[in-house]
């Protein structure tokens, strides 16, 4: 596709399945101008994933419906019907079905475990945190950190009869989520069970920027600090540094 992509393939052979074929999603990341930030974001994702894997006891790369590796490029964001657009044409004409988009929205880009604790890496969204906030009666925020690392793992992810079901295990507690597959201006949470003590622990957020001003970035990071501050009393098993580039540490 481009020289850059060839270099990336060589640098990150573990991710070759996601880098090996041309698709509109891949092209959007690698063929667009550097200034749009997507390539930097993908490189950061690969770097952080490699760093996590080097620390991890076990890890797994994501699998998508019909083994469609393009879906790795989809954001971890729930599909959203643009309110000002009447009808369903946009998603009917989309190259990716609504089901696939919902499915990909909650599939982590990497899952790994460290000393018996699981972690997930998401890109362009922190979907479990958003669901948790909505279910706790908070307003729907639009912030999407480029990369976020969240405790726990997703299990039993399934689509059936226009619904998506999955469980999130975090610190030994299981939460269940059921989402309707709808083209909607609102995340269509059909049902959810959040046991007592269950929470979402975001242990790191990485924002990649190529053109933003320092003030803009500071404001954004401050917003993330507020939004994703954890309420758990036990510190997480791993940390993300604020160095550049960011590094991962297992806690002592």
């Amino acid at each position: 596709m481009t020289d850059m992509l060839e270099t990336v393939r060589e640098a990150f052979p573990r991710f070759k399945s996601f880098l090996s074929h041309a698709s509109p999603f891949a092209e959007s990341a690698w063929l667009g101008p550097i200034s749009n930030g997507k390539a930097l974001e993908m490189l950061s994702l690969f770097s952080i994933s490699e760093a996590a894997i080097s620390l991890a006891d076990e890890f797994s790369l994501p699998s998508f419906r019909n083994d469609n590796y393009d879906h790795y490029y989809l954001r971890n964001e729930f599909p959203n019907h643009h309110e000002a657009q009447a009808g369903h044409e946009a998603h009917l004409l989309s190259q990716c079905s609504l089901e696939d988009r919902f499915y990909a929205s909650v599939v982590p880009k990497l899952t790994f475990s460290l000393r018996g604790n699981s972690f997930m890496v998401f890109r362009e969204g922190n979907p479990l945190h958003l669901l948790f906030c909505l279910l706790k009666g908070k307003t729907h925020y639009k912030d999407r950190p480029d990369i976020s690392i969240v405790e726990g793992e997703i299990r039993s992810l399934a689509l059936d009869g226009g619904r998506m079901y999955f469980e999130h295990y975090s610190r030994g507690i299981k939460a269940c989520y059921e989402i309707s597959i709808r083209n909607s201006n609102h995340i269509p949470i059909r049902d959810a069970t959040l046991p007592k003590g269950y929470t979402i622990n975001t242990i790191g957020v990485v924002e990649c920027s190529v053109t933003k001003s320092k003030k803009h970035v500071d404001d954004q990071l401050h917003r993330y600090s507020e939004l994703f501050s954890n309420t758990c009393d036990k510190s997480p098993e791993m940390l993300v540094s604020d160095d550049f580039p960011p590094r991962l540490y297992g806690s002592q």
Binding site: H81, A86, G87, H88, A90, L98, R182, N185, D191
Partner: protein, 552 residues
């Protein structure tokens, strides 16, 4: 600056809730059938995609069930339309497009019935005052769906009553529980729900009677597909080569480019004469300081803010086109309402910016602007009218209005001018001897009025003989299938008539749609097939139009 798009945003949010409300009704109805032993199993799905050679439509709800009696499998395909209504009970003409789309979806779905072993029915739900759209829609819909259901409340706005069930409901199941709780109460909404449930139940036990006229309408589509099979498929292949993009080329000329096709220049001339705002705003943007001086001087002549606003609103012809737009939009914090919802008698989207308004109407507008407190004083008015925001708004308006608007038809004008250069005369179809009223006029009988189609033109040859009906418009990519859907109804209803309860062909000449689209665009096959299956002959170039007219 807030725009009219916000009205659509409200509609999207409202429709989502109504969709869930109807889903609750359907589930409640099915559970009752299940409890009484009438059905063995059932499933309700939302936003079901119906895909066929002539359709790619989303249906709001899809129900599949298996009856206990003989295990008959049945599908119910349901669409819901919300009519928000307005206090003056005015009909909303913009709903006509949506209405046509709904009818075309219902006719297209009959194909599924033909190909399926499963019993199939279509249901349409209208939530809100059905008087909100033209009076022909309800009877035409009743002849096109198997069952039509109306749900509205009069003492309380039905959408407010539905909205109330979403307070504190985070999940869909919580909202449905709230609906269920409402049903136990003695409210107007509860009574309406019970009535709808009863209607559905009764209809089911009557054996889900079929609407035969709907089958017959689909039969017309089958005829077209059969008679013109080769032609239809050839046009689909040609569609992949893209269009002429006349609209974009005209726009580029408006903004200073030169096009080698002299007909494009003629078209732009027509466009500018129809939209004097474009020429005026171009002049103003070239010398913004001069505009500000003139506006300030005019405002300063007034003794108070009311008079200043009134003077701007009643400014001479071309100036008012600018001032009225600015007065309606500047400083607005809330969404701009539809013009017809402003509740000023006689004020419509067609006369808002250019029309001569009566003293009462002007007072109404001034009162409205003052009530919104967007301008605090004469100085504030001057500051806002001469602000960077105002200039940006006008620049955006120029960009937008040179591309949009019902009176702006560069694609249509271009093809008409081109035909005139080939010796044809192109005139408004309504001014010829042709009857350009759709068959829904006959379908609904004397209970409702159907106007003739106003934006069709007749093509006359050198002998004065009408050789075709013509329409031309730009089809942009994201809306291509929707445009085909809304136009499909026009050709079907013109090409056939409904007399003595029978359909027959009424028009022997071709009904041509000049499809202007981007040069590199390939439209979805089902959309192009649907447009033809409902009676249109499609042309992507003037040569195509000439070929169709000469029956070559």
């Amino acid at each position: 600056m807030k725009s009219h798009m916000a009205v659509q945003s409200f509609a999207t949010a409202r429709n989502r809730k109504v969709e869930l409300f109807i889903e609750f009704i359907l589930e409640f109805f099915l559970e009752k059938l299940s409890r009484e032993g009438s059905i063995q199993s059932h499933l309700v799905e939302a936003q079901k995609h119906y895909n066929s050679p002539i359709a790619s439509d989303i249906w709001d709800h899809f129900v599949s069930l298996k009856s206990s009696d003989g295990g008959v499998r049945r599908e119910l395909w349901c669409q819901t339309t919300c009519y928000k209504g307005n206090r003056q009970n005015k009909r909303e003409p913009n709903k006509t497009y949506e209405v046509r789309e709904t009818l075309v979806e219902a006719i297209s779905l009959r194909e599924h019935r033909k190909n399926s072993e499963i019993e199939l029915s279509t249901i349409h739900f209208t939530v809100g005052p059905k008087e909100y759209t033209y009076d022909w829609f309800a009877p035409a819909k009743e002849k096109t769906f198997d069952l039509s259901i109306y749900l509205n409340t009069t003492q309380e706005n039905v959408f407010d009553a539905i909205e109330a069930c979403f307070i504190d409901a985070v999940t869909e199941l919580q909202a449905k529980q709230n609906f269920s709780d409402i049903l136990k109460q003695e409210t107007e909404l509860a009574a309406e729900i019970r009535q709808v449930l009863s209607r559905l139940h009764e209809w089911y036990h009557l054996g889900c009677p079929r609407q035969k006229v709907a089958d017959e309408q689909y039969g017309l589509v089958v005829n077209e597909l059969g008679d013109r099979c080769d032609e239809i498929e050839a046009v689909i292949k040609r569609a992949a080569d893209g269009g002429q993009n006349i609209k974009k080329r005209c726009n580029e000329v408006v903004h200073g480019a030169v096009d080698e096709d002299p007909v494009v220049a003629l078209t732009v001339e027509r466009l500018l004469s129809r939209k004097p705002f474009i020429g005026k705003v171009q002049t103003i943007l070239k010398d913004w300081d001069a505009f500000c001086r003139k506006a300030s001087s005019s405002i300063l002549k007034a003794d108070n803010l009311d008079i200043a606003i009134r003077n701007l609103w009643q400014a001479p012809d071309l100036d008012r086109l600018i001032y009225r737009r600015l007065l309606m939009r500047l400083g607005r914090k809330e969404a701009a309402n539809y013009i017809q919802d402003l509740e000023i008698e006689g004020l419509t989207e067609h006369n808002l910016y250019a029309g001569k308004h009566s003293a009462v109407q002007v007072s109404g507008v001034v009162g409205l602007i003052r009530k919104e407190q967007r301008f605090n004083s004469i100085d504030d008015l001057i500051q806002k009218i001469c602000s960077q925001d105002a200039k940006t708004f006008l620049r955006n308006a120029l960009w937008f209005e040179a591309r949009n608007g019902a009176t702006l038809t560069p694609s249509f004008d271009y093809v008409a001018f081109s035909l005139e250069q080939h010796g044809y005369e192109v005139v408004a179809a309504s001014k010829t001897e042709l009857n350009v009223v759709g068959f829904h006029d006959q379908l609904v009988g004397s209970n409702a009025n159907v106007n003739s189609y106003s934006n069709l033109r007749a093509v006359k040859n050198q002998d004065g003989q009408i050789v075709a009906l013509l329409k031309g418009k730009f089809f942009n990519g994201p809306e291509f299938p929707r445009r085909c859907k809304e136009e499909a109804y026009v050709a079907l209803t013109l090409k056939y008539k409904y007399v003595d309860r029978k359909f027959s062909k009424s028009l022997k000449i071709p009904i041509i749609m000049f499809v202007d689209m981007a040069q590199e665009y390939s439209p979805p096959e089902s959309a192009v097939r649907r447009l033809q299956a409902f009676g249109w002959n499609i042309a992507f170039s003037v040569e195509d139009v000439l070929r169709i007219i000469s029956n070559d």
